[in-house]
């Protein structure tokens, strides 16, 4: 689910880049220095996850894991995804440099939303945390597909048609991501539960 170079009109590409830059700055300011190792680990997970391809009919789709990154990083997720996308763009030729802003919004916003949802609804019990983690993983991918349709609609495509296609193509990804997120959350609950307690602060901590 990457938008390629030259698909979006120039105005949309510039606008999404500006909005992404704003979010990136916001995310950067909310990333404490002590969290950097965790951010680096999840950035590399996000970077590598895109190489896991799931065969789907004639084409294949790959994992995205914005939901998992968002749930585990909170506000820092946007930073992690930005770095991961830049490297994917440069090394794997996913998307393109001019579409980077749009791709960043495409993955970053669902990640932030997943972080917010996970922070507010994770509750105390293990079962609930695992369930909410799975919902974040699957839901973020669905949200991503809808954003993709919205962005492509700005380039003159039919929104409903693209949305249907994007959602249909990502049904297996949604399921796998929900499963992967649930597995990671349950594993972390056993091994290092404090990793799941990320404060999702909207106000800047100075």
């Amino acid at each position: 689910m990457h938008i390629s170079d030259g698909v979006l009109p120039t105005a949309v590409a510039l606008g999404t880049s500006a909005v992404s830059a704003g979010f990136l700055l916001w995310s950067l300011r909310r990333t404490p220095a002590d969290d950097l190792p965790k951010v680096a680990v999840l950035t590399s997970a996000f970077f590598v996850a895109s190489l896991i391809h799931l065969p789907f009919g004639p084409t294949s789709v790959h994992l995205l894991i914005p939901g998992l990154v968002g749930a585990l990083l909170g506000p820092s997720a946007f930073l992690a995804i930005a770095l991961g996308l830049v490297l994917q763009c440069l090394l794997f030729q996913f998307g393109g440099l001019t579409a980077l802003g749009a791709n960043l919004l495409l993955m970053g916003l669902p990640a932030l939303l997943a972080g917010l949802v996970f922070y507010h609804f994770k509750g105390r019990s293990k079962k609930q945390r695992i369930l909410v983690g799975a919902l974040c993983g699957g839901g973020a991918t669905i949200f991503s597909a809808l954003l993709l349709a919205l962005l492509l609609a700005s380039g003159g495509e039919d929104f409903i048609g693209v949305a249907k296609l994007a959602l249909l193509a990502h049904i297996p990804v949604v399921l796998v991501e929900a499963g992967v997120s649930a597995m990671v959350v349950s594993f972390l609950l056993k091994v290092k539960p404090e990793l799941l307690d990320i404060p999702f602060v909207l106000k800047e901590k100075m």
Binding site: V39, A40, T43, S44, F47, V48, G84, L91, F92
Partner: protein, 91 residues
């Protein structure tokens, strides 16, 4: 006499032409389309194979290899290391 000779020559010429032209028409006209079709089919098959090969090579070439993955991971950890170092010095 000259008129008769001329006519005879003309008739002979026409006969020769017919004799020369007929067998080629008679022999090649049914065989040529079939042959062409066969060659066409062979060429099409070869072209299709070549195209498939090109597509395969293209897919192979564009797929990121291990080198790219390791490069990316190095970048991520290297950058985070630099930032952590800067942070540590500031303190």
């Amino acid at each position: 006499m000259t008129v008769f000779r001329r006519v005879l020559c003309l008739v002979l010429l026409v006969f020769c032409l017919l004799l020369a032209g007929q067998p080629t028409f008679a022999e090649e006209s049914p065989a040529q389309p079939e042959l062409l079709q066969q060659q066409n089919q062979q060429l099409h098959q070869q072209l299709r194979d070549a195209r498939r090969e090109i597509a395969r090579l293209k897919a192979e070439g564009s797929a990121p290899g291990w080198k790219d993955v390791v490069t990316g991971l190095g970048f991520i950890f290297g950058l985070s290391g630099v930032v952590m170092m800067v942070n540590a010095r500031r303190r």
